[in-house]
């Protein structure tokens, strides 16, 4: 789960990490008063107007504007609030800006990149810092890996002060700034573990002209599996950032991701679901979605699955691929037939059932009075689905 910059900064502030502070505004009528409040409270004539969307690349997309005067701030805010902001991460339609974060402007001497995330290969959290702040870290990692300093953290010991010092030295800091950065790193790690984050990235962390170390941005990602014990974090979810159909699917306990093709997919298991999408593509078609109905593929899940898939108007055919281990295929077959009838489905439905009672299931499908196309294998199913989608 992701959150907005202003929410991430509020978390950092709670953990005593100094931030570039400000206020959020959602209404055009409140823009001027909010800007004035920021100017006054943070003693900063210049402000930065920042669009609050989850996607990265906001600055390049025109969603972050330095505004030296009140007039320019108001103009920038009016332009950005409500716009469809397009960045390399939003897709061509962009993301509507519903919130602005008006912050103080700072005089920056140096910019750093700092982040904590999981190193999957070692099974440990890794703290990474680089003097190449503001840049895309992937690029730095590719071209000048020596400019990234890394510290792996023992989960039973937590981050030790020598490690925080090593990171601060790695950024070439001295004196008060060195001490301040050490504190930032220790507090960041605390924040990361205590909130069950999977990434905390500050890019850039800046050293100001007057020697302060301050977080200018904050990117958080949280572990969905830990949200049961992170109620405050879970409440930060912004439903406007989610695809409405994906949100609805999650309420049915279905794992759905919309794609651009026209062959709808309903599969049990994430790996098999991906493999089904892949083989549709190899058969010359395009998958319309990823949909994992989980282990218990009963009539209810099948029906809900159909409902979700049918919200996508591009869908021209639906493939159901169930490998029944514990779940019995004859029950799935009956569920599919019932769901097709109840929903008055008029799209071609290609069904491949394998595993427990698969033979009975095929007989049930063949005998039914609904137009279901049975398939013998995953390849057969993909070919039939692509043909059906092309012809309908």
């Amino acid at each position: 789960m992701k959150i907005h910059e202003y929410q991430g900064k509020a978390l950092l502030k709670m953990y005593n990490v100094p931030i570039q502070d400000g206020y959020v505004v959602e209404e055009l009528s409140q823009v001027e008063s909010t800007i004035k409040k920021v100017r006054k409270e943070f003693n900063s004539d210049a402000v930065v107007v920042k669009a609050q969307i989850h996607a990265g690349g906001r600055g390049k997309g025109g969603g972050v504007k330095y505004s030296p005067t009140l007039e320019s701030a108001i103009e920038n805010a009016n332009n950005i609030l409500g716009m469809d902001l397009i960045t390399h991460q939003t897709g061509p339609k962009g993301q509507k800006v519903r919130k602005l974060y008006i912050t103080e402007a700072l005089d920056i001497a140096e910019e750093f990149y700092v982040a904590i995330t999981l190193d999957r290969s070692l099974g440990k959290d890794v703290f990474m810092v680089s003097t190449e702040g503001g840049m895309e870290i992937e690029k730095v990692a590719d071209e000048t890996p020596e400019k990234i300093v890394k510290e792996w953290i023992d989960p039973l010991l937590g981050m030790k002060s020598f490690q925080a010092r090593k990171l601060s030295f790695g950024l070439g800091l001295t004196g008060d700034a060195f001490k301040a950065a050490c504190k930032v790193f220790t507090n960041m790690y605390k924040c990361y573990t205590e909130t069950d984050a999977t990434i905390v990235e500050i890019n850039p962390l800046v050293l100001t002209e007057d020697g302060r170390v301050i977080a200018l941005d904050a990117k958080f990602n949280f572990d969905d599996n830990a949200m049961y014990r992170q109620k405050d974090i879970a409440e930060m979810r912004d439903d406007f950032e989610e695809d409405p159909t994906e949100l609805e699917a999650s309420q049915f306990n279905l794992n759905y991701i919309k794609l651009d093709g026209n062959v709808g997919c309903m599969v049990n298991g994430a790996g098999l679901a991906m493999a089904t999408m892949d083989i549709i593509k190899l058969a010359g078609g395009e998958p319309a979605n990823f949909l994992d109905v989980g282990g218990a593929a009963n009539i209810e899940t099948v029906k809900n699955g159909f409902k979700i898939i049918l919200k996508d108007e591009n869908v021209k055919a639906i493939i159901i691929n169930i490998f029944g281990g514990i779940v019995r295929c004859d029950r799935v077959a009956n569920g599919v037939i019932q769901a097709v009838k109840e929903l008055n489905l008029d799209l071609p439905v290609i069904v491949r059932l394998e595993g427990t009672n698969a033979v009975e299931a095929k007989k049930i499908l063949a005998k039914s009075d609904v137009a279901i196309i049975p398939a013998d294998s995953i390849l057969d199913a993909a070919n039939k689905a692509v043909t059906a989608a092309t012809n309908s």
């Binding site: 099974g123 989960p155 049961y228 991906m274 892949d278 490998f323 995953i378």
Partner: protein, 298 residues
Amino acid sequence: MSILVNKNSRVVVQGITGSEGTFHSTQMLEYGTNIVAGVTPGKGGQTALDDSVPVYNSVEDAKNEAGANTSIIFVPPPFAAEAIIEASYAGMDLIVCITEGIPVQDMVKVKRVIDENGTRLIGPNCPGIITVDECKLGIMPGFICKKGNIGVISKSGTLTYEAIGQLVSNGMGQTTALGIGGDPIIGTDMRDALELFEADPETEGIVLIGEIGGQMEIEAARWAKDNVSKPIVGFIAGQTAPPGRRMGHAGAIVSGGDDTAVSKMRIMKKCGIDVCESVAEIGQKMKAALVQEAEAIA
């Protein structure tokens, strides 16, 4: 022969009295798995599965009193990490954790503990392990397997069944099938599993099924290049997965670099693995690889 489990494994089920635990323990018993004990804290002294299995308060008791040496865990996510740690400290030779949804921060600590204790863990978030006709530890449908000479390693559940189904329909059975799990942190990775199958004299070929996300397939392939003599057939799910989206498994997300399906497949090929473009080719490719191997020897 086989890897990790066989008819001599003495199994304790942690969470045996829960609904999942009861259901799958019954299935495992039917398959022939030697379940000697169950653990549910507070229910020690009772019995489970129609009086056939004694229940203990701790894994340690199950070891001391019933001689358990292998644990399988069906415990809800908030308590699963502790269940693994308990089994590790009780000295289990092997722990299989089926539980899906354990927080990463919990698993980071678990990993540290099992590494220090030298415990072999499979999973979490996995279908388990099955040594055909001997021992099933997990939720796989045993009847789809056939005894034979292929080892199966996979991150995913139903995709493992698909591979097994194709092997059987192409006339090949399995020694052991191992679902390693789809989480970012797991106990036994692909490299470990390859090493075990390479050392097993009965295994003649290996099917390796991965997916997008992480570097595990690549690390395993690079290791296999110099250390595995048996033919490996590989497949990576998620060629059509868009970057930045988590595809079901917590670990299945393309986040940049070499973790796309295409680059994993490219590197696996370079390392000498016979990589399937299509999931439907797994059975045929393994068959062809065995024929080629036999001809090379002849």
